[in-house]
Symmetry: C2
Subunit: 539 residues, 2 copies
């Protein structure tokens, strides 16, 4: 029995079963202690790295028939690794030895027909099926809660990991849904193409996961959400396989693809998609602009978002976020701007955007120009932010080991509501954290995605925990945040999906007739109610 | 009893009850005869303009309760005007005195609650409700077929015709669904804003109609489809009113709005929407480029669509279409390019696009530059095309009066399928026309919308009719076209919607599990099956 599992591109490199990413990238005990010292009220020494053996995992409640046995494992390490996603809530539950209900079995289909066969079997036996891609859900999207099903199967799709077909002239590719980000880009690179979708979880999430959760990418403006890059989908449902036609556009009824995008495994299992691609960018330029007041930064970002400059990157960090990431240490908010193009220089667009920022009291950083953007990196504000961005989830897990409460959540709202929303969320979450822990909390904010009509603020909460009660502390904070979002009619999630954690907010947000329609659609496609029970609809 | 009705902006100007647009814009008998002379096999003199009195309309099968009486009329002229849309098929049926089943009543709600009350009443009595905006459907979307319902109510939404609220900073407006295009733009103009959605039917179609049919606008690239401009929707369904939140983006489950967009009145009645707007463009430039070979034009258009130049207009006309519209008379295909911006000059982008076209053997027209685009007009190829574009539906009706068969249809496909598709559709429709009439037919093609991964070809068929059998002739031609589209897996409609005319193609195109889901959603929202029966789902 091993404490690691190794899917995807690096079969030799161990993934952490309980925390983010690569096991060997995790902070060691000394680094954890140093992180903990930055926050008041953390533990004296880190919680030990949890071991699968300590979970005392019993035998599965069901075993697969012989015809499916080759696809299925009951290995305890696999079952533990597939028990939850990677939210703070999940990490701390693993650290405290109290993970959610473990799946009885983990299946790795090798082709679409395997998925259909597994659904058939599970449907007939009342076995819940939880689709699992890279397992990076931060909203309880890949676990099972409750006891309404006699057994749980985690359907790990990472065996469906190939780029099957590339249409170079039409810039599209047929790609299996279980492919992880790096393998997907590696498969497209020889064709000079890219999906250009780089969420923070890129290395540890799959195309199918992005599609099922309507993921937002790294890019900050324009068509950043995965939805817009879908040409067609193949979805295996208990009621048959849905395959939409490859079309650049169609006006034939409500879009079939848009029903499955965001369906989080509750309506079917996405096994394949034709995705729209782009030429790889050859021109890049980036800059950082600082603002004394976050509110000025908001106005600058609105001006840029409403221009036709179309930056690839347009991230506004508040003072705390800028300090945390090393983008600025002088109490200023920082706007990170990045432009890119496959066809021509972008310096003029960058200059125009900087000029717009200047009109709103922005001060361009002297040393901020550089080969930034998603491909670049450097010793400047832009590069500092990017490095911190990718390291962040590991640091979160290090802080979790110190008993701290560290988590993020995101939303989106129209411009008119943004300034008040950001202030209210800050105040409500900080107050809830102090109430629950007796210690002050840090709440930082950045805008991750901006639109002509609004933006998506992303909040990071850093607080002391209450030893052994970290989940309750976080739930208390999150509940205050959700209430505040609801009061402002800001979405419960911009790109983290609903999963199980966001159900309280989601159930109040979606129009009730739409909920009726969704439930009816689910009953039609999943008559035995086995598909990812508890997300989106149902108890 | 009057033969005209006058909704919308020009209460004093009469709309035609049987044909396109304004009654006083219709060609007179002499012009009809001249048009007919252009085609072999047409009638010697035009069919008379049909009169409502000749339809001998009986009393309605139901009468509304007193509480709703103020909203409802049984005036025969209104019932005749609301009997059908404006397809060739509809026009010729009216000319031949055989319109579809007339609605028994026409209702004009003044507020959302009226819509809910009317649906309540109709649901309890088995009265079919056919939502009706501008009535410009060309796919049988606003008529009733069959006899499964005891009566039919046409729900004319043009009384809900106001811009209710404008968020200037966030560039959005709350607009009632029954507003016609010109009134909508007139309401936004004082704020310096525009929806920038100009379908050919602009003057005679409504926001709600655009939303319910996922309309494509005048603009040729990027976000041209109405879907992308929706911030939130308000939809009255028999199961309650669905109102989504105003959000720039959300990842909370499948998009509620996307289920109602394209639902064609079968799931609910869209009464209001918050729409994303744009600043009015101040800079425009356009050009025409001609190509000896249509295939070269296709390659040029693909290159432009895959660049980041983002023209507002990028329409490729084949030789026949160019000749018909006066854009060229030398047998060349013509590419009409237009750029616009609210923020800066667009000449450089135009020049770059023309250069791309030149690389694919395009020859820029010497005199083609001018203040073109949707706002401009002029004595050049660009302006000629635009004038012809707006006049086209009137000429169609003139030709219909000469017993000709004149109709358009559109599709979309990926680039790899386009050249073969266009050739096959041309050949199949021309052959079917000859077969049905004994005369040669003209089949022209233009690309109306282009995407990085494909384009939308739009076909115009001009053929002789067979006196009295025009509908059968057209159905024969259309059936051949639909078969050809299906063989190429090209969508049955890019932006004309499904209605009733496209059901044969649509039923084979949509994935069967999606059809199951859609039927289930319809049953949940419309338990009495009264909403626009026959479109999208059901018999």
């Amino acid at each position: 029995m091993s404490d690691t599992h190794s899917p995807g591109l690096h079969p030799s490199r161990p993934r952490s079963w309980w925390g983010w990413g690569w096991a060997d990238d995790h902070p060691d005990d000394a680094e954890c202690a140093a992180l903990g010292a930055l926050l008041p009220g953390t533990l004296a020494k880190p919680l030990p790295v949890p071991r699968v053996a300590d979970l005392r995992i019993g035998p599965p409640a069901v075993r697969p028939p012989a015809s499916l046995a080759r696809l299925v494992t009951e290995d305890p390490a696999e079952r533990a690794a597939h028990a939850m996603g990677k939210a703070y809530r999940d990490v701390i539950r693993a650290l405290r030895g109290r993970p959610g209900r473990l799946p009885d079995l983990v299946a790795r289909p090798a082709r679409d027909q395997d998925v259909a066969d597994l659904l058939d079997w599970a449907g007939g036996r009342g076995v819940a099926v939880v689709p699992y891609g890279g397992g990076s859900s931060v909203t309880g999207g890949v676990e099972y809660r409750g006891d309404a099903h006699r057994a749980v199967l985690s359907l790990d799709l990472t065996g469906l990991d190939r780029v099957l077909e590339v249409d170079t002239a039409g810039r599209a590719a047929r790609i299996q849904a279980g492919i992880l980000g790096p393998a997907l880009e590696a498969g497209l690179r020889p064709h000079g193409l890219t999906l250009r979708h780089f969420p923070q979880s890129f290395a540890f999430s799959t195309l199918g996961g992005w599609l099922a959760t309507r993921a937002g990418g790294h890019y900050a403006t324009g068509r950043t959400r995965i939805d817009d890059f879908v040409q067609s989908l193949r979805v295996v449902t208990p009621a048959g396989t849905a395959e939409s036609w490859r079309l650049p556009a169609s006006g034939a009824g409500p879009s079939p693809d848009r029903l499955f995008l965001g369906s989080e495994g509750a309506l079917g299992v996405i096994t394949e998609a034709w995705m729209r691609l782009a030429e790889r960018p050859r021109h890049r330029a980036s800059a950082a602009v600082s603002f004394r007041r976050f509110a000025d930064g908001l106005e600058a970002v609105r001006a840029v978002a409403q221009s036709d400059l179309a930056p690839a990157n347009c991230r506004l960090l508040d003072a705390g976020e800028a300090a945390l990431s090393g983008a600025a240490r002088d109490g200023a908010a920082v706007l990170v701007l990045g432009f890119e193009s496959a066809t021509g220089p972008v310096e003029a667009r960058l200059a125009a955007a900087v000029e717009l920022a200047r009109e709103h009291h922005g001060v361009p950083a002297e040393d901020s120009r550089g080969p930034g953007g998603p491909g670049g990196d450097g010793p400047d504000a832009v590069g500092a932010w990017r490095s911190a961005f990718l390291r962040m989830p590991y640091l979160r897990d290090g802080l979790a080991r110190m008993g701290a409460v560290v988590e993020t959540f995101e939303t989106a709202a129209t411009w008119d509501r943004l300034p008040g929303l950001v202030e209210d969320v800050r105040a409500a979450t900080a107050a809830a954290a102090r109430e629950a822990t007796g210690h002050p909390a840090t709440v930082n904010c950045r805008l991750t995605h901006v639109y002509p009509d609004g933006a998506a603020p992303y909040f990071t909460v850093l607080a002391a925990g209450r030893p052994g009660e970290e989940v309750a502390v976080w739930d208390h904070i999150k509940s205050a945040a959700t209430e505040t979002l609801h009061r402002h009619r800001a979405t419960v999630t911009h790109h983290h999906a609903v999963g199980r954690d966001h159900r309280p907010g989601y159930d109040r947000q979606r129009p009730e007739p739409f909920a009726l329609a969704l439930r009816a659609a689910k009953d039609a496609l999943d008559p035995h109610g086995i598909l990812n029970p508890g997300v989106l609809v149902g108890p």
